[in-house]
Symmetry: C2
Subunit: 445 residues, 2 copies
């Protein structure tokens, strides 16, 4: 069963990738129209999911996330599909062109990765989002959404597949929805057909998937982001940024979890910054040696919000109004701490000193390194990618927010006129390669 | 022990990546000079390895590969280091620049992957090659070479580390040589510190490594390359290319293993091509239904070279003068066969029909897809990359021959002036992103 799903996806992907940008974008417009027509049906299915959630006493915030009928969510979902359709074609871009010899040219072209297995949370609009990204980038996708939105997903998926079959050139099985966890675990062994797994969900889910598959996994388990407060900082920026990075959405993977303070920062400035955080009801886990130097009046006034940090606190994603706080010798100390504790997501420095900032921007080993702005900017929409399938903390392929470009790779085309290696130096012959770099802009294949 | 090696490599990598191109390239020049000075010492060590190989009755071809003193191999090794030093800097290239808002800019810059674990065969000159690629690309590397060249590797590695320590800014532990298989297997669990494993060696070695690590593996186990002979082919090109692709170096991963013949190709042309292959002493494993249609005179004359193919023959890397041969309906049949049997290495079409060629070039799912030239061109030197660390059949990150560009990834820098997400639409505020695309060419950070 899992093998059949995966093989079918693979077969679909080999046709999907040959469609033109117009054909792929047209399919997205058709899907948008189809979903609009099926709005009532989809919202009825969504009501069933909501009722089940209420019956099961799920939290009100989760129920709100399930609800597709509020805040213009349905219409934004449709707009999002058109936004993706209108993005530049990510495929068949020539990124390298070399004349090897007369009548022998090498081209590097972008192409889809192939088959994606995407596991995502319960927000029902995400399925439309991901379908749009997959088709636009020429990838077949196998989707598994959170069980709380099962009926909504099923209805949306039926509409999408009906539209693809009847109104587009996108092959059958390009988008397949699966509904059980068992199917996911069987699919994780289909490394012959599935090229990339993208899990969006809890730390536990992502770790579990990474443990159980040989297919490359793109995503992040933890989002342990740090902000380093340099001695040359602007205090207003520092306070504003740290508060935003912690409080704007504490459960976000791009929320800050650790504050590193330059020990040469003015003591009064340190106190002012910490007090500002405490006034926002942020609980501070402060490293003992730094805690002991802290003004006792502050410690007393905010005693419920100040605790001694353990070593573990500096490798923790609090996902709540809590921060680990530590002093470091200087920017180099911050770099060493972050490179050994961060999850390679996003880390920031606050300083007015360009040299110090450059040192930090170059030295940190994360997918996002920021100067004087909030870590919360790590997001595909904010980066201008239209949307994202997730945020990657991998060291290869795609890093940071992953949009269309993260779903493509490349291949080499060689166009010859009968050339063989045996005629060239190194292969037994005497001909010498020209290796003439060509400008991709001037090439039409 | 393994953890210490890996952690030290990681720490070195975070410094190495901050060095300028001049500093990295200078280090390569120093290494070249150092190896030249130590030539006698290295060749003495090489003589010990050769004698051991002779004492152990290793094959003469292997002994020849071990010998660093013949055919100007030592000097080519030194030249190779300088070639890499002179390549363009692969790091800190700005590949995307976007103004998000006034004073808030996003940049995507190339950066090293981090720490590489490279396992390679016995050719002693490869260690210099790989060291050069690693340092130039800013990656720390842990190297394990074939045990037959142990003394030579040790001597070269000592020279390299001595030079790096005393004459360059490249940090200690950037290049570490390990000597036992046990160490390799322990290192494969150091996914916290090692970012990429590159095995160069037997199918068995590569498969074994893939089975036993969670670190991404870049390389190829099999090289099952196919050539499709279309009905509109030029017979001279076809014969020349297939013979080159099979006989130029049958043990190469880019040698052809399967020939697919368009059933609409003229029967006499089919016979001429097959006879040409048989005259080169190539053994043909021919699919039964095609075999039955073959001229009985040919079957008789070459009976020792013609056998009935099994299904397995079409998923086999013969690595010798043997080919699997099969008829397909047309180019689409060839695409379906290749996409389900090839190892995604390199596949070629021989045809004079551009439309058919385009269909093939777009439809095949491999890292190299060729038109009218030999699959043997799949090689970093021939592609103009200077050299290669290996050939990747992965679907993500790097595909085909992997040179400097395959050893880098990217990260995002954001440079702000105090901006927070809470001020923007979607984060709770009202500001709207500009998302103004900037030309990377005009940017100096």
């Amino acid at each position: 069963m899992a093998e059949e799903i995966a093989r079918n996806a693979h077969l679909a992907s080999t046709v999907l990738k040959t469609l033109s940008n117009d054909e792929r974008s047209h399919a997205l417009h058709m899907i948008r129209d189809g979903l609009l027509q099926a709005k009532d049906k989809i919202l009825s299915a969504n009501k069933i999911d909501m009722q089940t959630a209420i019956d099961n006493n799920l939290s009100s915030s989760l129920i709100k996330r399930l609800d597709l009928s509020i805040n213009g969510k349905f219409d934004s979902m449709l707009d999002g599909i058109i936004d993706v359709a209108n993005l530049d074609d990510p495929l068949n871009k020539i990124t390298l062109a070399t004349q090897l010899d007369d009548g022998l040219n090498l081209y590097r072209l972008t192409c889809p990765v192939g088959v994606l297995l995407i596991i995502f949370e319960s927000r029902p609009e995400v399925i439309a989002n991901i379908t749009a990204l997959a088709i636009k980038s020429g990838n077949a996708a196998i989707l598994k959404g959170g069980k709380e939105s099962l009926n909504t997903f099923k209805e949306i998926s039926d509409v999408i597949n009906d539209i693809l079959l009847n109104k587009t050139k996108v092959p059958n099985n390009s988008i397949q929805l699966i509904s059980t966890r068992d199917e996911v675990s069987d699919l994780l062994s289909q490394d012959k057909y599935i090229d990339l797994v993208i899990p969006r969900g809890s730390n536990e889910l992502v770790k579990n998937i990474k443990e159980n598959t040989k297919i490359p996994v793109l995503g992040h388990a933890d989002g342990i982001c740090s902000i380093y407060l340099d001695k040359d900082l602007d205090i207003e920026k520092a306070i504003k940024i740290v508060i935003d990075a912690k409080t704007n959405y504490p459960a976000g993977c791009n929320a800050v979890e650790t504050i590193l303070i330059d020990e040469n920062l003015d003591n009064e400035v340190k106190s002012t910054i910490l007090t500002s955080l405490l006034n926002e009801k942020i609980k501070l886990h402060i490293e003992p040696s730094f805690l002991s130097t802290l003004d006792s009046q502050i410690k007393e006034k905010y005693q419920e919000l100040i605790v001694e940090a353990t070593e573990d606190d500096f490798s923790k994603e609090f996902l709540s109004l809590e921060l680990a706080v530590k002093q470091v010798h200087d920017v180099n100390g911050a770099i060493i701490h972050i490179n050994s504790h961060s999850s390679k997501h996003t880390d920031a420095i606050i300083t007015e000193n360009k040299d110090t900032a450059d040192r930090f921007l170059k030295g940190i080993d994360s997918s996002g390194v920021y100067w004087n702005c909030s870590t919360r900017f790590a997001d595909g929409f904010r980066y201008g990618f239209g949307t994202e399938v997730g945020i990657s903390t991998n060291k290869i392929h795609s890093r940071g927010p992953v949009g269309l470009e993260g779903l493509v790779c490349y291949y080499y085309q060689m166009r010859g006129s009968g050339q063989v290696v045996g005629d060239y130096l190194g292969g037994g012959g005497t001909r010498v390669f020209k290796h003439l770099s060509l400008d991709p802009k001037n090439i039409t294949l």
